[in-house]
Amino acid sequence: MTDFALTTFSSKGKLLQIEYALNAVAKGDTAIGIKAKNGVVLVVEKKQSSILVEESSVQKVSLLTDNIAATYAGLGPDFRVLAQQARKLVKKYDLKYQEEIFVQTLSRELAEDVQVATQRGGIRPFGVSILIAGYDEEGPHLVQLDPSGAYYSWKATAIGKQAKNAKAFLEKRYNADMEIEDAINTALLTLKEGFEGQITPTNIEVGVIRDDHVFRILPPSQVKDYLEELE
């Protein structure tokens, strides 16, 4: 730990370290989130560097609590750390209030940890943008959390390599009356649009939460069914 900040302002008023962190995010595998009337879906690319990699051991959609999960674009290990911090925040809240935490509350508290990394001495910003999806008392939520600590609520969004194209695609396809099944199909279609090579049930990950407040990461067999429906 050093005493001085590593992230400091440029003369133009920018925090270059955060810009560079966003560059790292832009190089990461694409992740897409869509909020429907009655649920939220997260879909993320999981392309492995080699066929020798044990695909089932890689988990890109992480459960933060029963009704909230997250995925990312950018540096995997940074996401792992933040996911664990988020889980601890949920439990801390649970110990104090014994109540299901709201997605907005969790996003805000996690965002504080992310912001601290842009100001505290001796540490660098996190190199991930995170998509948090959950269903709480207020309804379905989709929140994007950036390396700067800024967080935004979305109806539908994409982060990572194909973010720009995917968002353009989503803008055309999204409508507020979407049900969760439509949203899942749309998310898969959006991912397929910019996918390099063949999309298979094992090189993507799909997570869904419906109004039962239970987040489920779909097993490859279910993903296969959805992908076949797209044909």
Binding site: L95, K96, Y97, Q98, E99, F102, T105, R108
Partner: protein, 204 residues
């Protein structure tokens, strides 16, 4: 100090009715055998639908109440919503346990209405929460009030009946206890309003 919970004296009682709850407390603030004032507040309105009653060491009553006020105000500002009575009830338990090895010398009762449903919880001084179906007492006159409550209480009373029963139980209990009394205050909370009534007890 022997009997730190008895030093200031005072009694509280909470009761559930049909879609309503009631809390009552005495008004005495004493120092062992001396009475200092006869208008000390022991029941606090935390939110429109939550009441907190505290008995025990008066300095801790005041401090713990202030701590709960701070928690709920910060919660309202951060979360941009009101706190549910069951959530507040859990908050009281964890706040008490946080001071496990240097506790607040209070025994709280929390009462509230959550979507019209009555909520009643009581705790020991280190946060052991009990959810109750009927009534609970606290303070030096507690045991005497218990007797009166057992005799007069019936489930699903109307706000008017509840006010009468809790008032009578408090008054007869405090009359027996040397360290409680000098007046009583009864709070009855329904979906529509909170009524506060001041009662006369034996002036000793």
């Amino acid at each position: 100090m022997s009997g730190i919970f008895e030093y200031n004296g005072g009694s509280i009682v909470g009761m559930k009715g049909k879609n309503c709850i009631a809390m009552a407390c005495d008004r005495r603030f004493g120092q062992q055998m001396s009475t200092i004032t006869t208008n000390y507040q022991k029941v606090f309105k935390i939110q429109d639908n939550i009441l907190l009653a505290l008995s025990g060491l008066n300095t801790d009553i005041h401090t713990f109440y202030a701590l709960m006020e701070k928690e709920i105000n910060l919660y309202n500002l951060k979360e941009n919503r009101k706190m549910k009575p069951t959530t507040f009830a859990n908050l009281v338990a964890s706040a008490l346990y946080e001071r496990r090895f240097g506790p607040f010398f209070v025994t709280p009762i929390v009462a509230g209405l959550e979507n019209g449903k009555p909520i009643l919880a009581t705790y020991d001084s280190i946060g052991c929460k009990s959810d109750l179906d009927d009534f609970q007492v606290g303070g030096t006159g507690g045991n005497y009030i218990y007797g009166a409550c057992e005799a007069f209480f019936k489930p699903d009373m109307s706000p008017e009946e509840l006010e009468e029963v809790i008032g009578q139980s408090l008054v007869s209990g405090c009359d027996r206890d040397a360290l409680s009394g000098w007046g009583g205050v009864v709070y009855v909370l329904t979906e529509q309003k909170l009524t506060v009534k001041i009662l006369k007890t034996k002036q000793t």
